[in-house]
């Protein structure tokens, strides 16, 4: 069966510091991968998606970036965090053209 991992679970970072959140999927090959952010009291906002290694599409321009160095690894990064980057970050995967997405446990980021 497929599983999706995210780490860290919780992160407190100062403004201006870098960020690296990692997501890995097991039990499937060539998944579509997604990064979402959920701010307090708001819905999920799609940040990036990837349909293959090295292929990244951005939905929202911002100071975040994503990379997919391996088939089942998706990384969310920032060179300098802003206060507004605080939120709950969720990684998800989906099989090919199917649209049901399965979410990881999430990372709660607080930027101070």
């Amino acid at each position: 069966s497929q599983t999706i991992h995210q780490w860290p679970a919780t992160l407190v970072q100062p403004v201006g510091s870098p960020l690296s959140l990692e997501c890995t999927v097991e039990g499937t090959s060539n998944p579509n991968l997604y990064w979402y952010r959920q701010a307090a009291g708001r819905g999920l906002q799609l940040l990036f998606y990837s349909v293959g290694i090295g292929q990244i599409s951005s939905e929202v321009p911002q100071n975040l970036s994503a990379s997919r160095p391996q088939d089942r690894q998706f990384i969310l990064s920032s060179k300098k965090l802003l206060l507004s980057d605080s939120g709950f970050y969720l990684c998800a995967w989906a099989l090919g053209l199917q649209e049901t997405q399965y979410f990881g446990p999430g990372t709660r980021l607080l930027v101070l």
């Binding site: 579509n32 009291g41 708001r42 819905g43 999920l44 906002q45 799609l46 998606y49 349909v51 599409s57 939905e59 969720l90 053209l97 649209e99 049901t100 997405q101 399965y102 979410f103 990881g104 446990p105 999430g106």
Partner: protein
């Protein structure tokens, strides 16, 4: 701009009650609508709806889509405290990866 609106924003019911959650949408080139349940952390998938009028059912939960009136409902019968969660509605539209989430309905079931 695509829009997904869920109502009510929050709901408190007693165990055993039946609840109906609503999701309306305005999108270009609708593809499918999904319902998720989010407890403490990751949303878990409940239903995917693509055709009007066909009810999807899983235990005490059921959902139906109306593509003419552009909405979906999620019904939960005989609610239990374990049903307490935020219920999210998401709509896939337009291009392959375009998805819009509603802000969710927070359901609290009290004993």
């Amino acid at each position: 701009e695509d829009k997904v609106v869920q109502s009510p924003l929050s709901l408190v019911v007693h165990e055993g009650d039946t609840v109906t959650l609503n999701c309306s949408y305005e999108v270009t080139n609708f593809r499918s609508l999904l319902w998720y349940k989010q407890e403490k952390k990751a949303p878990t998938f409940l239903f995917m709806l693509t055709s009007s009028g066909i009810e999807k059912k899983s235990g005490r939960l059921s959902s139906i889509l109306d593509k003419k009136e552009l909405f979906s409902i999620l019904n939960i019968t005989a609610t239990q405290t374990g049903d307490s969660a935020v219920y999210l509605c998401a709509v896939f539209s337009g291009g392959y990866q375009k998805v819009t989430f509603g802000t969710g309905t927070k359901l609290q079931v009290i004993p």
